[in-house]
Symmetry: C2
Subunit: 328 residues, 2 copies
Amino acid sequence: MTGSMTSGITIWAPDGAPEISDSDDLAAVLVGLLGDDGLLDGDIVAVTSKVVAKAEGRVRAGDKDAAVDDETVRVVARRGATTIVRTRHGLTMAAAGVDASNVASGHVVLLPTDPDASASAVRRRLHELTGRVVGVLVTDTAGRAWREGQSDIAIGAAGIRVIEDFSGRADPHGNLLVVTAPAVADEIAGAVELAQGKLGRRPFAVVRGRADLVLPAGDDGTGAAALVRAEGADMFGLGSREAVVRALVGDPDDVDLYGRPAPAEELAAVLRELPGVESAPREDTVRVTTADARAAWAAGVAAYAHGWEPVPGAPDGVVDLRPSRPLT
Amino acid sequence: MTGSMTSGITIWAPDGAPEISDSDDLAAVLVGLLGDDGLLDGDIVAVTSKVVAKAEGRVRAGDKDAAVDDETVRVVARRGATTIVRTRHGLTMAAAGVDASNVASGHVVLLPTDPDASASAVRRRLHELTGRVVGVLVTDTAGRAWREGQSDIAIGAAGIRVIEDFSGRADPHGNLLVVTAPAVADEIAGAVELAQGKLGRRPFAVVRGRADLVLPAGDDGTGAAALVRAEGADMFGLGSREAVVRALVGDPDDVDLYGRPAPAEELAAVLRELPGVESAPREDTVRVTTADARAAWAAGVAAYAHGWEPVPGAPDGVVDLRPSRPLT
């Protein structure tokens, strides 16, 4: 492959990693595992957030729900058993990245407190032990909007350019690449997952072939924090239904969002409790009658919270509600 | 690296690909480029959607906007110059994946009509030419919710398991892996982008080391269509503000969504045009007065369309509006 390896990368994940526990020296463990496969300058080392957290004592006994609440800044979307939240790191993840797998039964593993700092510490220690200048990523598994399945992403980084910015560069045809900015650190994290697998206890991996992304010793770069879209800058900062409720009343956490429409009788009963609102089930709808604009807002909120929406074209002075179409 | 290469992968992207045009035999081009680096059974071949589209004649002269409209099923979110849509393939992408880069100036490249069929054709042809049983991915670049930068994803696939489902499998601690389902085809697409780069004209790549994902000859599997979350099954099927407008009136395409709040005078003028609605700017708000519930809904829609939201605690019979907080 010599000729084309100029544009190739190699990833390997050493077998035989020991169970990691509090205060373990992850860099030393990795160097021991690599054996003859030593690190080279420009290699990129990936470590799962799971073992980083274990080495930092971020393991808790029991009660996943309490741990999720502690790690959550706000709820992004909730349906049934699934809760997607924004964490203190700014990550949007199911269950705030709290994980009960690959840990002793009855325990949960939290995300590292500061994954960029964790990556920086591993990078410095690898340099002490090997003299090599490498980049370091801390990886975790996240779901995505719009796509099935999960992909590993970089939640921590040190000494690596996490985004390649081609803005203003030209392609071979002379067209400017206006918005192309590959999130290379996330692509590396996904590639590493392919080499590690989920069942093989391979928390470490080495990526060789993109030394151009690795920064000089002493320069840790932006960290993975630069991959997090700022709060308020995202068009998808709330689930669709949460956005409706939040827009009308405030905090969707205050509203119990049904996964599917509530029974008509139940909805009508809820609406009748609102001041100035009359409500009754009809054939396929629930009719709301109110002369008060604010009461109409409140009825709308309650309706959305219960999976109902207004039917266009109702008579003046009333709102007819029908089960919501999916907010796609 | 022999010991640990059992859990390693290698990716290379051959240099020197010619400009691809209509009716070119992509499989033959790749085999020619690989030279001594022949394919092995279990290899995974990735081809960018750009060259697949070019080989299928999916190139158009001029007017990107018209091309985007033709490829769009519905608008997902629109802010300023950015339009994110759901394509006929079910893909959620900026500009419907229509691309004006790496193509002759003044032209645009559309996505392949049926990327899974494209992948299947390349797979069959590679088998004819080499006798090898490989998996084939068609890749493209997509933005993500919540994360900065883009990542390559698999929009077409043939002969490869696109999602690894570990549901019900146990980790080494005996914990069931309930929801873990790595989208390996997307992770491979991202890994391939790392080897190809965006400027080097390397539309092909070969991934070696995950033969376990490759299906027998004649079995193309689910294709990349299995990676697309079904319409109506996604909590993020609309931008937050689009969700509010859609929930209140129907199609956000009908409403011109401001990226930031409109001037108060402009909003008040719009609202006064609604039947039964009085509206006037006040110190920091715009007051809407209406005795008609449906008029209140309409005012709410207009307000959201213009980047305004109701202030909690207004007097009975009125709605006071303020510039919307970001719908995060």
